[in-house]
Amino acid sequence: MSEMAATDALPKPKRDIAPVLLPIALALLMLPLIGSVSSWVTLTVASLAMGMMIFIMASGLTLVFGLMDVLNFGHGAFIAVGAYVATLVLLPLASFVQADSLLANLAVLLPAVLLAMAVSGALGLVVERVLVLPVYGQHLKQILMTTGGLIVAEQTLYALWGPQIIPLPLPTALRGSLIIGDIAIAKYRLLAMLVGFVIFVAIELVLNRTKIGLLIRAGVENREMVEALGYRVRRLFLGVFMTGSALAGLGGVMWGLYREQVHASIGDELTVLVFIVVIIGGLGSVTGCFIGALLVAMVANYGGFLLPKLALVSNILLMVAVLMWRPRGLYAVTNR
């Protein structure tokens, strides 16, 4: 074959780093407005921690959206179930939770987290088979089915645990703050940041360094062509759905511990936030979801400090602003 454009120079693909710079620019911009360095650090750390927890909850949803084109309005059920399952382990073993020993704390915390993820993942399997499978490709029915699923899950939690708020105390080792000069950084927030970052890196590694990840990325872009290459995308969908559900369960545990309480409508409350993050990030984009979660958390924390009256609508305003800038989200992966 002739050289046929083989030697044509391709334009170097531009790295789109503007969205990555956005949270950094926002944080720096807030410093003079807030005035006090210690308050700024506290708010920034709170934003990062909150953002990471929201990211954990939203990461699965964005892949489900992108890969499966499923509008899962029931994602909050996995968050709530995860949080409640954690109470089943942590409350009866309160002596371990309150023990002044990191090992004793971890001995109950880790099983609680793993059980919450397992139950949420299993619930994801049931939801995908029973509620989502019959309505693939039918968005309106997906919304009705999954919203119905969320209501059923929420009411089941009410029926089993009652309407009262259930306290979920932080393990002793995670209480308190690290003091650096006149800046206090809550230990749990540091842990939340660490866990969120590790999960982000893990997802990125899986997506970029493994064949399963390639399949997911390709499937988000063109599901039909992946099938034409001989891959059974249905199984992949199910795996992603279950993983997303399990991550939502983990997010629910972390959010419950962050607030030190759990209630039946926790999933309902967080669903809106999670959807805003997924839309801001761009459907199917994990990186966009990560940045979107940080932005949402920053706007909530900085906004709550500077303009408390705007706090209620700050996330909606953020979403509007982002979509006016990039109508398909920060990093558009799908054409939807």
Binding site: M4, T7, D8, N222
Partner: protein, 240 residues
């Protein structure tokens, strides 16, 4: 010459539209069969129905004698059917390498086979680690075809590979497809470009209104201008 692929009275409905209305044809093994016809005749639908991307509502499709019309697309692909869609459908977020790694379903990329592909698609080697979305139209088409032949396939379904490409790139693609032919591949190729059809086709099928209206040797049709005008509404020379 035996028929590797046989379609018998195949009907396909898309929504309320009855697109394929009893397609019956045979694709002989080791030869290139051109599928020609006016726009909207049902050529792409035929390929997609064979691939299982649209389900046949009636009729039989057999590959090496085994019925495949009720199989899911991945199962048809696993029987050795490679598909190059009209839209190319390269994964633009993935690199050239990643696109080919995915296409090599049964194991790692074979270096010798890869060298053969690079022989006629040097651009793919040059842009190995470049995101496919950055490639030109011709390069995307090369990648799409390379993806279909990165592993040995029983049958290649290729939909209008030259569509929208510059003449120089079309010539190069024809050379490439000839090389694939020389390796004994069985190809069912939808093509509007007369030169490409004449150069590549051994056999020809002409479609109109969802049915096969002519089946014969490509050389015979290429030599028969009145028949071309009768079947296609204009001669192949005008059809370029």
């Amino acid at each position: 010459m035996s028929g590797l692929l046989t379609l018998s009275d195949v009907h396909t409905h898309i929504g309320s539209y009855h697109i394929l209305q009893g397609v019956a044809c045979e694709v002989p093994e080791g030869r290139t069969t051109m599928l020609l016809g006016r726009n909207g005749a049902g050529k792409t639908t035929t390929l997609r129905t064979i691939m299982g991307l649209w389900q046949a509502s009636q009729g039989a499709i057999a590959l090496s004698g085994d019925r495949i019309e009720r199989l899911a697309t991945p199962d048809i692909a696993r029987l050795g059917v490679g598909y190059v869609p009209e839209s190319m459908a390269v994964f633009s977020d993935l690199t050239v390498k990643e696109n080919l790694v995915l296409a090599a379903r049964d194991g790692p990329l074979d270096d010798t086979h890869l060298a053969w592909i690079f022989g006629f698609f040097p651009a793919l080697k040059k842009f190995w680690l470049t995101r496919a979305g950055s490639l030109s139209g011709g390069q995307k088409q090369m990648l799409s075809i390379a993806r279909a032949i990165v592993e040995p396939r029983k049958l290649l379904l290729i939909d209008e590979p030259t569509k929208g490409l510059a003449p120089g790139i079309v010539m190069a693609l024809i050379e490439c497809l000839k090389e694939i032919k020389r390796r004994g591949a069985t190809i069912l190729l939808v093509e509007q470009n007369f030169y490409a059809a004449r150069e590549l086709g051994d056999k020809v099928l002409v479609m109109d209104n969802g049915t096969i209206v002519h089946s014969g040797e490509m050389a015979d049709l290429a030599a028969d201008v009145p028949l071309q005008e009768h079947l296609l509404g204009l001669s192949l020379e005008q059809h370029q």
